[in-house]
């Protein structure tokens, strides 16, 4: 295993130390592994808490800051954080207006956040509302299964909902907005290589030199199917087509088109893919209102990419454009 780490057991703690050093504007609670805004909770503002397994950096810790999250819990690599962390985060961001938990739809994340919310309620703590993100069209949605995974829409949702919370909107409204964003976002991903979980020490799956996986998740879960390598143009089709056939994206104010790198894919290639995605959207009559291209939600050292489309109206775009000051996303301030 080739990684710039020390003991695999220490990778999350070590990375959080590095992150704290790189971003003195944040406050890192190393014991609970929670990244907080440096300035603490603002009275009357809804607190936004997210988190999940580590290995997806900059998500979520890198999205803590003005206009986005108030706190992020870092679990072990690819393992949901534990309820204690979420309780500490919730208490630490409570400004009296309640706290929104933004949870990616994975059994572990959902159950741990659920237990955390129960614990907070048992202590008569902050009012907590939970929103679950489930946007991955690679997964068949059904009442009888765990449902769709939460992937790229999470990043867009945290930004947009973060802007709404910053405006001082009440918890119910912020939560409604979050659900609206989740409803309007769809994603699909692919991998050229597997990732290697540090504690496992070897690639999660073997992928021959001439093959790629379509429909992968962001935890090294293998995809829905394995196909021969193809040019970016065809890869774009394999990602965009299932998204477009899952939701109507035409009309409105266009989409936010998010082409995301999975950790080992250079920006050069993401731009190539973005050009192909844009060409397909153009052909389908879907306008791109905003683009986001880069490694914002990674899967350790996986080479590959995900595409997320979020159908926007004026309000979503205005909130997207609002100032954000985090290590991972920053503009307008």
């Amino acid at each position: 295993m080739k990684k710039l780490i020390n003991d695999p057991a220490d990778v999350v703690a070590d990375a959080l130390r590095g992150m704290a050093l790189a971003h003195p504007e944040l406050r890192v609670d190393h014991e609970n592994r929670v990244v907080f805004r440096g300035e603490g909770p603002r009275q009357g503002k809804v607190g936004l808490v997210s988190g999940g397994g580590s290995g997806h950096e900059p998500m979520h810790g890198g999205f803590v800051g003005r206009g986005m999250l108030d706190a992020a819990c870092a679990g072990e690599v690819f393992t949901s954080p534990v309820p204690d962390q979420m309780v500490a985060a919730t208490q630490g961001v409570d400004g009296g207006a309640g706290v929104l938990h933004i949870v990616k739809n994975y059994t572990g994340d959902v159950m741990n956040f659920e237990m955390a919310a129960e614990l907070v309620a048992a202590e008569s703590g902050a009012e907590v509302v939970t929103v679950v993100v489930d946007d991955d069209v690679a997964v068949t949605d059904s009442l009888y299964t765990a449902g769709r995974r939460g992937v790229g829409t999470t990043v867009l949702l945290e930004k947009i909902v973060g802007a709404a919370a910053e405006e001082g909107r009440p918890l119910a409204e912020v939560a409604d907005l979050a659900r609206r964003v989740d409803d309007a976002g769809r994603s699909m991903g692919m991998a050229l290589t597997s990732c290697t979980v540090p504690a496992a020490g070897k690639p999660t799956f073997d992928l021959p030199e001439d093959q790629m996986e379509i429909g992968i998740g962001i935890h090294g879960e293998p995809g829905r199917r394995r196909v021969p390598l193809a040019p970016a143009r065809e890869v774009a089709e394999m990602l965009v087509e299932p998204i477009l056939s899952d939701l109507a994206f035409t009309g409105g104010e266009g989409v936010i088109c998010f082409v995301n790198g999975l950790g080992a894919t250079p920006l050069l290639e993401l731009y190539v893919l973005h050009a192909e995605v844009a060409a397909l959207l153009d052909k389908a009559g879907v306008g791109i209102a905003r683009s986001l291209v880069g490694p914002y939600m990674t899967s350790l050292d996986m080479a590959g990419a995900t595409v997320t489309l979020l159908r926007c109206d004026d309000e979503l775009l205005r909130l997207w454009d609002a100032p954000v000051v985090t290590p991972g996303l920053r503009w307008g301030a």
């Binding site: 679990g75 072990e76 690819f78 159950m111 998740g217």
Partner: protein
């Protein structure tokens, strides 16, 4: 269920998890995210340390401590599920009753049904065996059979469900660790 017996059980389970850590992770690599072995190993190591540090007064306290430690240290799906299992066991007087209560906790927390290709498929048959008056060894046997029966299943819960048809052909990691839990019980509980 004496405190000593339960402690022996947990110690043996921790040992088995540690021995099978790589195997559990390999199973989770095939249909999940390659961390089930690391997760449970981290959890049971923490449990043993916690029990060592402040030996609980009775069986209920011991089970509660175990459950709470797992919830606090494991994360992922197995943290809440194994944690709930032990937390709910704390209320009962006999092992069969305790395991049944734990099983119901797992069902309530995870909302899986038998046949969804989860730990439920090993735990359920073990509870049924005990409730039918069979020995712990027979319950362990039932859990192992339940684990094996997950191999052909298409997963409907947990990460493996994302694979759809591709999840068939592999044993479920959680069912496999649950079989170890029952094996440890067979070796340590009377």
């Amino acid at each position: 269920m004496s405190t000593e017996e339960l402690q022996a059980w947990l110690r043996r389970f921790a040992e088995l998890v540690h021995e099978h850590k790589d195997e559990l992770t390999a199973l989770d690599s095939a249909i999940g995210d390659a961390d089930h072995g690391a997760n449970l190993d981290r959890g049971m190591t923490a449990v043993l340390a916690a029990l060592e540090e402040a030996p609980p007064a009775d069986a209920a306290a011991l089970l509660k401590k175990t459950g709470a430690t797992l919830v606090s240290k494991v994360g992922g799906a197995s943290g809440p599920l194994y944690g709930t299992l032990f937390l709910r066991m704390a209320g009962a007087d006999t092992f069969p009753a305790a395991l049944r209560a734990g099983y119901e906790g797992v069902l309530a927390r995870g909302k899986a049904e038998p046949g969804d290709k989860t730990m439920v498929d090993a735990l359920g048959p073990a509870c049924d065996a005990l409730d039918a008056g069979r020995s712990v060894a027979e319950a362990a046997q039932a859990a192992a059979e339940g684990r094996d029966a997950t191999v052909p299943l298409v997963a409907r819960k947990g990460r493996a469900s994302y694979l759809g048809e591709r999840s068939a052909g592999h044993a479920d990691p959680g069912a496999t660790s649950t079989a170890l839990l029952l094996q440890a019980a067979a070796e340590t509980l009377s």
